[in-house]
Symmetry: C2
């Protein structure tokens, strides 16, 4: 009977670590530094080391450990292989095999956004559903698709990369991915700032946003104050995202769409601006798809990583 | 050891039936009439009857029959329930349970487009892949999504309903679904005729298409003759479809995209017009996703239905 599992979330500066029961209770949470030097060759040994230390410290019986799940900031294919993780300076790594050899434990690897989606599906905004789309609105737009409780990793490790759906022909400035007009350019925190600057430049109307630093937070704060220009920005943002989500729903028809990331701190009012265009453009059977805010914050990654090995 | 299975494809006028080996060899193929009278109440009993007759005729041992798969023209949810099948005048039917009671065999039900996708995945254009998008270009645009060998049915039975993705804001004429600007309105056989009429009305340029009845076939026949107006129509069609497929690929990242339906009889030249915009708009890891033409034609449904019970 397996009682415990580890959830690891590798970021550019820190590695978040969690020790869980297989029921999903957090027994311990800690962080180590991500040593990106030497092409990231120290990262997996450091993770193996901290897991071994935790097993000793907690006096865990190895036979009771289901394994180690790990989320990585880059594409991970269906076999748990990482063709390249640019942010970590890794080349090709068979992460499941390598970390398993170092720890003596079963290892499952996934893309960090997909793994966070699995976390929200298990214990967060999507708990109790079968099929879910997670959208993470931060500096970029991330995503993860869960079908029948499993991550859709994709044949090229690009499942759930919905931030790079093409949504706007008129954009000529390239996205980080090299294409132009990606959802990420319109609906991320950065995208909201872009829309805000365009809106403020297009009118002389007074606005709480004038003369202050524009961010997704200041825009939605102004929306809450009924600022007309801010509302117009929120509507444009919501139309891009709600329309895109209606298109994604014709593909996988989720039970629930969960919105997370820093922008989601704006709260339920954010959902209003996304849901209205979603309901307009969605195919009839999907029009009443549920929406929810993510609830696990930065812990979604360790929860989802742990869930991968259960 | 199960040796045989039945694949049933229910259409508005005929029910296609197939007896297969579990390896996918067709042992027999036949049709019965779809009796839509009395709210379709005769359809399942008729199917049960023809299956029983075939078992007698072929002297099959019931213990060697894996079951009956059935594709239905309407939404089928993950539990095999049909909330409504408008074309058949059915109300709510628990088709798996009802047909299983009538035949004494295991029954699995699916939406017909999804089931056809499973057929192409098993023995057609997607054979050998793990993840596939099927697009069927006929009077409408149908679709089916296969992930790890399984149909994505969706939480409201609308998985793979990609024909109803919103792709064009400027359309004011409603689609059959009630929304405006669906992919089906631009990229179906009917959509191609619409694009052709618009193109011919917008220019005085000579074209082989002038003075003849416009259809998807005549348009692609003219493309093969290097007709400039026809090429322009094909490019517009291909941009709608290729761009939409690039968006769908950010969700599920398929290994292969299979194009079927009547329009696909135009052959490989059709793929050229879809692939070019797809490669332009697709997220980098997915840019080289394979494309293939469907190969099973009208038999895709019975193949996929049979595969559901294996």
């Amino acid at each position: 009977m397996k009682k415990y599992c580890f959830g690891i979330d590798v970021g550019g500066t820190t590695v978040k670590c969690g020790l869980f029961t297989t029921e999903g209770e957090v027994l311990d949470k800690w962080e180590i530094r991500t040593r990106t030097e030497d092409n990231g060759s120290r990262i997996l040994p450091d993770i193996a080391e901290t897991i071994k230390e935790k097993i000793s410290e907690k006096e865990l019986n190895r036979d009771e450990i289901a394994g180690v799940g790990i989320g990585i900031p880059g594409p991970v294919n269906e076999n748990g292989e990482v063709p390249c993780a640019v942010n970590l300076h890794w080349g090709y790594v068979n992460i499941e095999k390598d970390l398993s050899e170092m720890t003596g434990l079963t290892v499952k690897a996934g893309n960090d956004a997909n793994v966070a989606a699995l976390g929200e599906f298990w214990k967060g905004g999507g708990a109790g559903s079968h099929n879910m789309i997670l959208v993470t609105l931060g500096t970029g737009v991330g995503g993860g698709i869960i079908i029948n409780g499993r991550i859709v990793a994709g044949s090229h490790g690009a499942g759930g990369e919905i931030g790079h759906a093409h949504v706007e022909d008129s954009v000529t400035e390239p996205c980080n991915c090299g294409n132009c007009g990606c959802l990420e350019q319109m609906a991320s925190a950065t995208g909201i700032v872009r829309l805000a600057k365009e809106a403020l430049a297009s009118t002389d109307a007074p606005s709480l946003l004038r003369g202050q630093e524009i961010s997704a937070k200041t825009v939605f704060d102004a929306v809450k104050e009924n600022d007309a220009v801010a509302i117009q920005i929120a509507e444009r943002f919501g139309t891009y995202l709600g329309k895109a989500l209606s298109i994604f729903s014709t593909v996988v028809d989720p039970q629930v769409i969960v919105i997370g990331g820093g922008v989601s701190k704006a709260g339920p009012i954010l959902l209003d601006y996304i849901i209205r265009p979603f309901r307009k453009y969605a195919f009839t059977p999907s029009k009443n798809t549920e929406f929810a805010l993510a609830t696990l914050g930065n812990d979604a990654g360790i929860f989802g990583a742990a869930k991968m090995v259960i």
